[in-house]
Symmetry: C2
Subunit: 197 residues, 2 copies
């Protein structure tokens, strides 16, 4: 066994987990989302900056406000998933660094005084956290349906009126329903992805 | 138990895993990297685009070429880690879509004809894959030391002469050595990160 991780966990998180396109009516509870967050929050970000912010869309009104900004092909599943989460980068994450990166609290001003620098760092590190979050959803025995087909400016204005957030993904979450997945797509081979120098 | 994932796996991947700053001399084999890739390759990307490319730095010459582009504080550990991996986005990922996204092979031209669109999509989706890769390194019982402190233009020119790749992270990989970690930093609370509408 080259991997240490239990094979059942490998299946749960990677091999058998799939992007679901339909869901059962079973609700996704706040307790489940909290457990997911309390697991994946430990995964690393640069300077411990943790720029990911999550908006859970639970109200009928919130759902309508979101769906209208989704690409047409994504609207039916975004309308019907038990829970939809908007995952965004907080471009003002540096405000938290004095408490979150206490070994060098000056990082806030020394490295992140300029907005373009923050936006670039937040986009990368929040995307790492989107990856961790998707794995966390699967760790809860749920299927994730991450989407990037939406009007990003529209969602940013609709849900982040402060102008300080950039949506990265919208994720449908729930138990997979009937005909939940398309056939698995191929994957690039090791030799197409990994080279050695 | 709110999470389905085995608690030992939760510890291995998230709670007890840490960003290592020192490593033992134990080598990291190609078999281990292949097992990591063959696990995390299944995690999702938009249009199955899989833009992540990995350069394993194994030769003394390759190590020297890399270390000179690292921030000074990252040079000692990059010099001594058993294995260093350069993780980059391939901005020409769309060339693979006809085989990798067979349900809509036209995606290559319909959605990704323009370089700026590809760069943005590759940056986001390869960053997701960097997150998956870090989890995969931990699944192999190894510690990852991801870094973003480097001269990105310098690395791109040095290792990707085709001008089509953008480095996202450099990751030290190995078994944790003596005094491998700093004290764990705090994490933002659930209520600081998650809101509901």
């Amino acid at each position: 066994m080259t991997l240490v991780l239990d094979p059942a966990a490998q299946d749960l998180l990677f091999r058998e987990a799939r992007t679901a396109n339909t869901f059962t009516a079973d609700p996704v509870t706040d307790e489940q989302v909290q457990a997911i967050y309390d697991l994946v929050k430990y995964a690393p970000t640069a300077f411990n900056q943790q720029p990911l912010r999550v908006v859970l869309v639970r109200s009928t009104e919130g759902r309508e406000r979101l769906v209208r900004h989704m690409a047409e092909g994504n609207q039916p599943k975004t309308s019907t998933a038990p829970l939809v989460a908007i995952l965004a980068a907080d471009n003002e994450f540096h405000e938290e660094l004095p408490t979150q990166f206490p070994v060098f609290p000056q990082a806030k001003d020394v490295f992140f005084a300029e907005r373009p620098v923050r936006e670039k760092s937040a986009a990368l590190n929040a995307a790492l956290q989107v990856g961790y979050f998707i794995i966390g959803v699967r760790a809860a025995g749920l299927a994730a349906g991450p989407m990037t087909g939406f009007d990003a400016d529209g969602i940013n204005k609709e849900f982040f009126a402060d102008g300080e957030h950039s949506v990265l993904a919208v994720v449908n979450i729930g138990k997979p329903g009937e005909n939940a997945w398309f056939p698995r797509n191929p994957r690039l081979s090791y030799d197409e992805v990994v080279t050695t120098v």
